[in-house]
């Protein structure tokens, strides 16, 4: 039987599962489809931009977002200015330890943090701040950069990225194309097809030769983030052949670096003994009013109850359907019908494309042990904890904070379980 049921296989759910399994708990992870990691960038954000709040200096419209150089230094002040932020539940050390814990899980894939944000180029030529990056993304501070892409790849335009990087990264740039379909005859290869082909040493060599022929004497080379799916050293080999640093440039999803991270963490969870049940939706639960005794999984053919002593709920927010808005404008959490914070704000949605949508600050309010609480701050269920995108108070994609919120809340939820109940002895 299971001690802990984790619902959701995004960064929060995988982190919670691994943490609980490491502590000797029997964990069952229930997930309706793959988690969101491969729709992210395969990097770990802590805080990328500080938003100045509701209004800008001039008093109208949102203020400018300022890039953050050292996120942990800025967190205390940021939380003071944003009292309802998920980070308000944690100490700075807690966030830092959670992120370091994650980096330690995947030493081949994430460069350990040193307190400073990295900046990673994107397909549009922006320099995106983030905290943990993959080794293929470390920006070498060059004075000149060649931006190179295969003509056949979808959604990567070297000239566009190069022109913008001139401004955003203050470097001399030039865009170049190479002619190499991921597979013979393909005219619009996907990043996945390229990444799989680059797993093959012969293809990688051909790719490197064409890049070498195309570029000039630039100090570094930006390539689309397709440098190997199953092998993680393709970038290193390309860099050696080209004789200069290679940097993976972030693309629109599906993200190859995100797939690498998803694969690494899922493999870790399974290796740690987590029982993963993929492909069925949790549609209901049983409780005695104070404690949830089982959750109901809608499997092929029938509903199956999964009893557990602890539940960690990490389903994501609106994007995964865990939160919905009905035709009356009311927001609901769809599984446990948990009380929501922020749902009563006026103008949850605005027609201004550039403005933040307040709707996305709506979520499930929790205590510091991640238990959902009612308006009078009482836990709704004693053994239910929430982690990740369901927490209210942050628009993660604007401030680039979702990853560390997910990991820190997942660890807080698991660690709180250990503080409140002793592990059960194995009965099998």
């Amino acid at each position: 039987m299971t001690d802990v049921i984790v619902i959701g296989a995004g960064l929060a759910g995988l982190s919670a599962s691994i943490r609980a399994a490491q502590a000797g708990r029997r964990v069952t992870l229930l997930t309706f489809g793959l988690g969101g990691l491969q729709l992210g960038q395969g990097t770990i954000d802590v805080l990328g931009y500080t938003t100045s709040g509701e209004t800008g200096a001039g008093g109208s419209g949102p203020g400018p977002d300022r890039p953050v150089a050292r996120p942990f230094d800025q967190l205390p002040g940021y939380v003071r200015a944003h009292r309802d932020h998920p980070y308000a539940h944690f100490s700075v050390d807690q966030v830092r330890e959670a992120v370091d814990w994650l980096a330690g899980l995947t030493p081949d894939l994430l460069v350990p943090g040193d307190g400073a944000n990295h900046v990673v180029p994107t397909a549009l030529g922006a320099m995106r701040p983030t905290y943990l990056v993959q080794p293929s993304m470390v920006w070498p501070d060059p004075t000149s950069v060649a931006v190179v892409g295969p003509r056949q790849i979808k959604d990567f335009y070297p000239d566009l990225a190069a022109a913008n990087l001139e401004k955003t990264a203050q470097v001399r740039t030039k865009g170049y194309h190479i002619d190499l379909p991921a597979r013979p005859g393909e005219v619009d290869s996907s990043p996945v097809a390229y990444a799989s082909s680059l797993d093959d040493p012969a293809f990688l060599k051909r790719f490197a030769e064409l890049v070498a022929q195309a570029i000039g004497d630039e100090q570094a080379v930006c390539l689309p983030a397709i440098l190997g799916l199953r092998r993680t050293d393709a970038w290193r080999q390309l860099s050696e052949i080209l004789g200069r640093p290679v940097v993976e440039t972030l693309l629109a999803p599906p993200s190859i670096p995100g797939m690498r991270l998803n694969e690494a963490l899922t493999t870790q969870a399974k290796a740690a003994g987590v029982r993963v049940v993929l492909g069925s939706q949790v549609t209901g639960f049983e409780s005695d009013g104070r404690v949830i005794t089982a959750v109901t999984l809608r499997q092929a053919g029938r509903d199956q109850n999964f009893p557990a002593s602890q539940i960690i709920y990490a389903p994501g927010g609106f994007e995964s359907g865990a939160l919905t808005m009905d035709s009356y404008g009311h927001v609901h959490e769809t599984l446990f019908d948990l009380p929501l914070v922020g749902a009563e704000q006026k103008d949850l949605l605005t027609g201004d494309y550039w403005a933040d949508q307040k709707l996305f600050t709506v979520g499930v309010g929790v205590d510091d042990s991640m238990r959902p609480v009612s308006a009078d701050k009482q836990p709704v269920y004693q053994n239910l904890r929430v982690a990740g995108g369901l927490l209210p108070g942050a628009i993660r994609w604007t401030e680039k904070s979702g990853d560390a919120i997910a990991v820190t809340s997942a660890l807080a939820a698991v660690d709180a379980v250990f503080a409140t109940s002793a592990p059960q002895g194995g009965t099998n």
Binding site: G33, V192, P253, V276, V277, L278, G279, G301
Partner: protein, 407 residues
Amino acid sequence: MFEPASYESNLLARASLDQCVKCTICETQCPVLAVTPLFSGPKFVGPQAERYRHGLVVDHSLDYCSSCGTCTLVCPQGVKIAELNSVARAAMKKGHTPLRDQIISRTSFMGKAMKPVAPLANAVLHNSAARWAMEKTLGIHRKAAMPTAHSHSFSDWWKKHTPPSAPTRGKVVYFHGCAGEFFEVETSIMTVEVLEHLGFEVITPTQGCCGLPMQSNGLFDAARKHVRTLADQLGVEPDAPIVASASSCVTMLKHEAHDIMGVDDESLIKVGSRIREVSEFLLDLADHDDLPLDFSPIEMTAPYHAPCQLKGQGMGRPAVELLKLIPGLTVVDAEATCCGIAGTYGVKKEKYDIGQAVGRPLFDKVREINPDFAICDTETCRWQIATATGATVVHPIWFLHKAYGLG
């Protein structure tokens, strides 16, 4: 051509396409798209193309879909991608299904036909000249995995079998499937012996084909007829669990007949809710501390492959958890998407190379973990893995049977 019956049955699946957010997770996991540009991918031929179909086929690359169901399994939004595509392909091929597809989708017929002449049938299936002729005339690839015919069926054994006199637990209805009747007789016998060892009274009704191979070849009318008949046959003991060693056929009864072909007969729904794949059934006993764990150790490390249709049941990988309980045994989940046979897909002349490429990561894993011995729950996948790697490939029940000292 507009095909009312198919589209009517597909209303629910069609409704789900609005939930597609174009995240492309399905395309990143599709094992066919990963190895060939001939298939445009599950999202492209599915939720994208479906909006334009209105009964007409807009993209014939759909025929390269192997129906493995990985796309539906990994979709975080609940889009019935594989189901949509199965129906669209059936509509596309209706009226011109090749003779080959009509033959290879009738497992029972092949088993019955080969049984009286099993040695001869086996000789033909392993004769390169005969296989060359089969490829030329029928389009069955000359190297494709084929079952081994037997002179004795499971039913022959069952008729002579004396069950234990005093069962200590309740009744279970046993579903062996066509392959378990004619080709994998040993697996069926072992399953019965394990269930009887545990104290169950095993009931084995006369049973036909579930229709899955016909369904995946677009022969919906025949498939519906077969699955309805089977549901009636398996429904003999309304209160007993139905336990099956044919894991892919379980999928047909649990949801595919309903989700893809719109069969909503009460008898099917009831059987679908009561049927358990045998590892699922035994693991459930173990989870309730109701499975004897007096196993003899089996010192072995073996790779395990979860068949697509088993994964599609959305219950995890019960065999992996179950086999962990046997001391000495290390089972390594190969974590491969698909073996490439996909029922009858990988035997077809024009799809064979794709099937082999799909299976290659799995074959490599098998060779790396244990080149001589592998584990898989579904018959056709076992034949595929065995043919490609030369390993002996057994159903998980083989280990239970051995660990309980039954063989």
